[in-house]
Structure formats: C-alpha cells, structure tokens
C-alpha cells in the first residue's frame, strides 16, 4: 500500500471515526441522563422507557429511510444531511421542559443518528478493498467503544456537575464540528460506478493513489437495489440470518447498556456509584473491539460470532444473579467486552460483505434497522 493510500485511509477513518465517537456518546449518554431525570423530574420507569423508546424509534425510522436515500443520492450527501438533522434536534432537546418534549426531540435526533450510522459504515466499507475492508470497518467501529467510554467519563465527571442541559449543548457543538470535518470525505467510488459516473470514480481512485483494479468487482454483478431483492434465492438465507444476528445483539446491547446506570441505581447504589461502576464496565468495550479484530482474521467472522455470543450468554446470566460488587463488575465487564466485539468488531464487517455493492446499502440498512 502506497504512502498516499495510507494517508487517505487515515483521514477517512479519523473523519468518519470522530463522528462515530460522538454518535456513540450521544446514544449511551441517554442512559445516564435518564437516570438523572428519574431523580430530577421524578420519572417513573414507564416515563423513562418512553424517552428511550422515542430515541430508538427515531433510530429505527432513520436507518430504514436513509439506507435507501444513501443508495439514491450518495453516501456523503446522505450523511451530511443526517448529521445536520441530528445536531439541530440534539441541541433543541437541551431546552426541553418536560419528558414529553424531551422524548419528541430525542425522536428527531435519533432519526438523524439512525440514518447516519449505516451510511458511514457503507462509505468506509466501499472505500475498502478485499484485503482491508474488514479491518477498516472494525477500526471505524472501535471509535464507538471510545464514544461509549467517553460517555461514561462525561457522565461521571461532567454530567453530575454541570447538568444534562449544558452537557447536551456541548455535544451539539461537537457534532457541528464533526459535520465540518465530514465535508472533506470524498464520495464512495463503488457508488459512483454503480450510478454510471465512471469518470468521476476513476478520478477519485487516481487522486487518492489507488489501483483501478481494486474496485473492479463493483461492476461484475448488477442487481437492482430493492428490499425484495434481499429475498431472492441467492440472498434469502443470508438476509434472514443477518437479521436474526442483528436483532439478538441489538436487543441485548441496548437492553443492557441503556438501563445499566438505572439498574445499578435500582440495586441500591447511589448515582455516583452507579455511574462509576457503569464506566468501569464500559471500558471493557474497547478491549472487546481489539480482541475481535484479532479473532476475525484468525477464527473468521462466523467463529468469532459464535465465541462472543457464547461469552455473552454466560456473562448475562451471571450478571442477572450477581449481588456482590466484584461479580457484578466482572460479569458486566465481560458482557461489555463480548457485545462490543460482536457489534463493532464483527457484525459491522460481516454484514456488508454478505451483499453485492448494488444492494449493500439496502442490505446493511435493513439489518441495522432490525437492530433498532
């Protein structure tokens, strides 16, 4: 790989990764904010659930809508639009005066965020070549782990001190910064080829020092990109399996992480202790990503998925019955490690590779939508 290509990949990953980190921070921060709101607005568990549900609904609709939009108008345009939507409504949510308004704003913020995630994954994936595509997406996903840990750090040391309104305002400013950075990312050459913009794709490929043959596979298979194509006889089994895997990990990941600080609060720990223990457990997310990077190349995608799902099963069960602090922290940490490895380290690399370029956006978008 030439120096120019390496430099390009570094820029691509940093620019996409900063946004990815902020996304993770914002998704996970909700769990801490809700825990605070339970105390400040005296929310019931149902009202807290409505906030989380609104956020998740936005993520779901965003993933479906913008997966398709990205296939139509291009990856870069789509993720600039989605990040803009997210930034506006994230900022507005800081001004909420009750949980209904807050839920509504979180829905629209989630809409932008949900749309953005599969779009960025497709873009990075499509700049990758056969040999580096998996590691590139995994590297991008590692920023999610940093975001999760940063959310824990912010919650433990900033949110408690300055409050949720100011914290959300600061995050909005950071999201706008990410938006500016993203204007520097070029369009996916594979998407351009698929749209018949061959010369523009060639120009980009040459500009960033790539060999044209690295993107040759893009034009080999032509399938019209619709949801129904995901169920043709070649792709049916893949689609069903991908959907089940995404559903399983999303169910467990968000079911656990979005309630983790509240669950600890309900077990009798103070807000400070709940946030501290949650932070310790989420630090293992980062380790999970790097273990997965190693495993997907040695065990393969399927072997890694099997192993990490098995660890998740065991540690979730132990966590359910853990009552002393050390068992709670160890099982929670192992669960974080395995879930992060599945999600970021493996499944994000695996799913796009299941589909040909022409329906990769739809395929990945539909799977991530199932995850919402």
């Amino acid at each position: 790989m030439s120096v120019i290509v390496k430099r390009f990949y570094t820029r691509l990953i940093i620019a996409s990764g900063i946004g990815w980190l902020l996304d993770a921070m914002n998704v996970i921060l909700i769990s801490y904010i809700v825990t605070l709101l339970i105390e400040t607005w005296h929310l019931t568990i149902t009202q807290s659930g409505i906030i989380i549900l609104a956020n998740s609904l936005g993520l779901l609709i965003g993933a479906i809508l913008f997966g398709k939009v990205a296939d139509m108008i291009g990856r870069t345009t789509a993720f600039i639009i989605t990040l803009l939507i997210y930034s506006i409504f994230n900022g507005l949510s800081a001004l909420s005066w009750n949980f209904i308004v807050f839920s509504l704003m979180r829905f629209f913020a989630g809409l932008g965020l949900g749309g953005e995630l599969p779009v960025v994954a497709s873009l990075v994936n499509e700049w990758g070549t056969e040999s580096n595509r998996g590691p590139l997406v995994v590297l991008l996903e590692s920023f999610w782990a940093y975001g999760v840990v940063t959310a824990g750090l912010i919650s433990r040391y900033v949110l408690i001190s300055i409050g949720w309104r100011l914290t959300l305002t600061i995050l909005t400013a950071l999201a706008i910064y990410a938006l500016v950075i993203r204007f520097t990312i070029p369009e996916s050459p594979r998407w351009l080829i698929m749209k018949g913009k061959i010369e523009r794709a060639k120009g980009l490929i040459m500009k960033y020092g790539f060999n044209e043959s690295m993107f040759k596979d893009t034009v080999e298979i032509k399938i019209k990109g619709t949801i129904s194509d995901l169920f043709n006889k070649d792709l049916r089994k893949r689609t069903v399996i991908a959907w089940i895997l995404w559903f399983s990990i999303a169910f467990g990941y968000y079911g656990f992480l979005l309630w983790l600080p509240t669950a600890l609060l309900y077990r009798g720990f103070s807000i400070v202790k709940s946030f501290t223990f949650s932070l310790i457990m989420t630090i293992f997310s980062i380790i999970g990503y790097y273990i997965a990077i190693y495993l997907i190349n040695s065990l393969g995608r399927r072997g890694t998925l099997m192993l990490l799902f098995l660890i998740s099963v065991i540690s979730a069960l132990v966590f359910a019955y853990a009552y002393n602090i050390s068992t709670l922290i160890i099982s929670g940490s192992m669960l974080n490690l395995a879930m992060s490895g599945i999600w970021g380290g493996t499944i994000y690399a695996y799913t796009p590779e299941l589909y040909p370029t022409s329906i990769r956006g739809v395929g990945t978008g539909s799977a991530t939508a199932l995850a919402r």
Partner: protein
C-alpha cells in the same frame, strides 16, 4: 433496540428478569451464528474456482 430497552418497562423495573430474557436472546444469536454463511465475496470466489 426498541424491544430490548422496553423489557424493563414491561417487567416494572425488574432488571433480573430482564437479564434472563437478554440471555435467551443471546442464546438465539449463538445458535444462529452456527449457521451463518460465508461472505458474498468469498462465495463468489468459490463459485469462480469451481
């Protein structure tokens, strides 16, 4: 992501039962991963070779 976080609400804040349900769903994920196919690119290469 919608259903998972909603389980504690349905269970009125019982996080122990929530974790057991999460365990079951992970078990489904584990069993499904056993049947996970090769990636598209690998499949294509295999077809080409044969």
């Amino acid at each position: 992501m919608i259903i998972g976080p909603y389980i504690p609400v349905l269970l009125m804040g019982n996080f122990n039962y929530t974790m057991i349900i999460i365990t079951m769903v992970f078990l489904i994920g584990f069993l499904t991963s056993i049947f996970a196919p090769e990636t598209f690119r690998k499949q294509k290469q295999i077809t080409t070779i044969h």
